[in-house]
């Protein structure tokens, strides 16, 4: 775990817009693709010189081990991502990765609930694919500010996931955060998710196993998801974001507060995370 296989150029295969200001970049790098697991990320150099200086962290939004390819899905939100949007096929891109620990997949055999807010949907795509390959029932709750910012929905459906969406401006699905349909789903007794008490009409491989939940998104969103999981007693893994220097655990730039048996300690999002158990994460303020 956490072994860095790659700090060398990957070949850019395609880079195209898939939603409003959101791009998908496919890169060829067999070593990385073979090793990567859902929930891991890469540090990408956005310039060859020293300006912009720092590498940018991006989740693996697609892992094609057999084809030797990975996909990143990124939103243009500043200088680095602005430069990336103009890159064309054939370019050599310097990647460092795969980094961090991915989602823990073998924890439970029951159904999986995937909750993504905004760009937080990106790491859920390879996760959904892998869970479906393991024949787990997968329920996706996808939220964004507006419909034009949602991506990956057809992929989730193609993998055989149940998908519900929410938009803050009401332009698609439920009007609000993804936690709105998620809360309704939980309140309704996890229909299809096969809670022991459930009178579900749409059981699909879930059996009566407890569901596990995986979420990624901005901190306030994760706070709301963690609250629901606490209320309904659901085991959850949250993927966190933090500003990063090195991405490999050396600089302490991304160190956040984590709750343990010994009290609150600091852990590095890049090295000990980015995925943490909901109960561990201190999401105040």
């Amino acid at each position: 775990m956490n072994d860095i296989s790659l700090a060398k150029p990957a070949l850019l295969i395609s880079n195209r817009q898939i939603a409003d200001g959101i791009y998908a970049m496919d890169l060829q790098e067999p070593g990385l693709a073979a090793e990567a697991r859902p929930g891991q990320f890469v540090m990408l150099a956005v310039s060859e010189g020293a300006d912009p200086f720092l590498r940018r962290p991006f989740s693996l939004a697609g892992i094609d081990g057999d084809g030797g390819k990975i996909r990143l899905i990124y939103q243009v939100s500043g200088r680095g991502t602005g430069l990336m949007a103009a890159w064309e096929a054939g370019k050599q891109v310097s990647l460092l990765g795969p980094l961090g620990n991915g989602f823990a997949l073998d924890a439970q055999p029951g159904p999986a609930i995937l909750v993504g807010g905004g760009m937080g949907l990106a790491p859920l795509l390879p996760l959904a694919k892998e869970l479906r390959e393991r024949d787990r029932a997968v329920y996706v709750f996808a939220g964004a500010r507006s419909l034009g910012l949602l991506f990956g929905l057809s992929d989730f459906r193609a993998y055989g996931c149940m998908v519900q969406i929410a938009t803050e401006d009401g332009s698609g699905g439920a009007a609000g955060f993804a936690t709105l349909p998620l809360g309704q789903y939980m309140q309704a007794g996890f229909p299809g998710g096969g809670r022991a008490s459930g009178t579900d009409g749409m059981t699909r491989g879930g059996g009566s196993q407890a569901p596990s939940l995986y979420a990624c998104g901005p901190a306030p969103f994760l706070r709301a998801v963690a609250g629901l999981c606490r209320d309904y007693g659901v085991e959850a893994q949250l993927s966190m974001e933090e500003r990063m220097g090195c991405g490999i655990g050396a600089c302490m730039g991304c160190s956040v507060q984590i709750r343990t048996a010994e009290g609150i300690v600091r852990k590095r999002v890049c090295y000990d995370g980015p995925v943490f158990r909901a109960g561990e994460v201190v999401l105040d303020g």
């Binding site: 956490n2 072994d3 860095i4 700090a7 150099a45 020293a50 300006d51 912009p52 200086f53 720092l54 590498r55 200088r79 460092l96 933090e242 500003r243 990063m244 220097g245 090195c246 490999i248 655990g249 050396a250 600089c251 302490m252 730039g253 991304c254 160190s255 956040v256 600091r266 090295y271």
Partner: protein, 300 residues
């Protein structure tokens, strides 16, 4: 191939390219990329007397051709360094320079007392760019008298080469350099980060949780070169130069300015193999330019 070995304040180093403190942890992460014995020496993450949790995040901000950090010295404390990190680093063949920080003169003294019993330590680097809690938070390294006192107190217990790391946030760095030289520093390292700030226009607040942080990277290289050059002319101590080095040519600039060795800081974050690359690049440069040894580069 040209000889890269240097002898510096009694330290024998296989090459003059060191890992700067704070960007390299205790070498464990970079050990997955190349051996910890590759850098001339590793200047370990700064340690304090007690374990320290550091500042809240965000701790990192982008700056033009550089970065700001406000880690706040998150570290496991000097005892854990001695017990856990130093033995591991030595077992990997690294030359280890401890980097120490205190909140009071007494803390510096106590840390160095404890380090005096640490087996295998190659040198101590004293980071005086810390706020002195006994003097209203004034940074030790900005006052010649206080910088001298810290040096004297550490010197009492230090049986290995003593390096004092100077802060650039001063009007006259040579005054500090002379003051610590007089109290027995064996070498100087410079520069630490320059105090700076970044503001998020969208959020209308500072990017860093601590508001201000230390600027590093190529953005500070001209300042670092100037300070190394001034210091080399003012005191007769070996100098470890640092600040924005990203290439062998950058390193040579520091040798020409008067440094005997250099350290790479932020460069490690963006180019994880930068230290072995610069070691190789320096060898090539020396060969091309006809130098038999890196020590033959004459300072300006």
């Amino acid at each position: 191939m040209a000889d890269l070995r240097v002898r510096l304040a009694g330290l024998d180093l296989p090459n003059p390219i060191l890992a700067a403190s704070g960007v390299y942890g205790f070498g464990r992460e970079f050990a997955k990329l190349y051996p910890p014995s590759a850098p001339g020496a590793i200047m370990a993450k700064g340690v304090t007397l007690e374990p320290s949790a550091g500042n809240l995040t965000p701790r990192i901000a982008e700056a033009p051709a550089g970065m700001l950090n406000s880690i706040g010295l998150e570290n496991p404390g000097v005892d854990a360094f001695i017990r856990r990190e130093l033995p591991w680093m030595k077992s990997q063949g690294a030359r280890v320079i401890a980097n120490i920080s205190g909140h009071s003169v007494g803390e510096y003294e106590e840390i160095s007392r404890r380090l005096s019993e640490a087996e295998g330590l190659d040198a101590i680097e004293v980071n005086i760019s810390c706020p002195n809690l006994d003097h209203g938070g004034l940074v030790f390294g900005t006052d010649p008298a206080i910088a001298a006192e810290v040096t004297a107190r550490v010197r009492k217990h230090c049986h290995v080469p003593l390096i004092v790391k100077l802060s650039p946030n001063v009007t006259d760095i040579t005054a500090i350099a002379k003051a610590v030289a007089a109290e027995g520093a064996d070498a100087l390292s410079l520069i630490n980060t320059l105090l700076g700030m970044a503001i998020d226009v969208k959020a209308r607040k500072p990017v860093l949780a601590r508001q201000v942080g230390g600027l590093s990277g190529p953005a500070i290289k001209p300042v670092a070169l100037r300070m190394v050059w001034e210091t080399a002319r003012a005191v007769d101590l070996p100098i470890i130069g640092m600040g924005g080095i990203l290439s062998a040519e950058d390193a040579v600039e520091f040798f020409l300015a008067g440094a005997h060795a250099v350290a790479i800081g932020s460069g490690n974050l963006i180019r994880p193999y930068i230290i072995p690359e610069i070691i190789e690049g320096l060898g090539r440069w020396l060969d091309q330019e006809g130098y038999a040894s890196v020590n033959d580069i004459r300072r300006l």
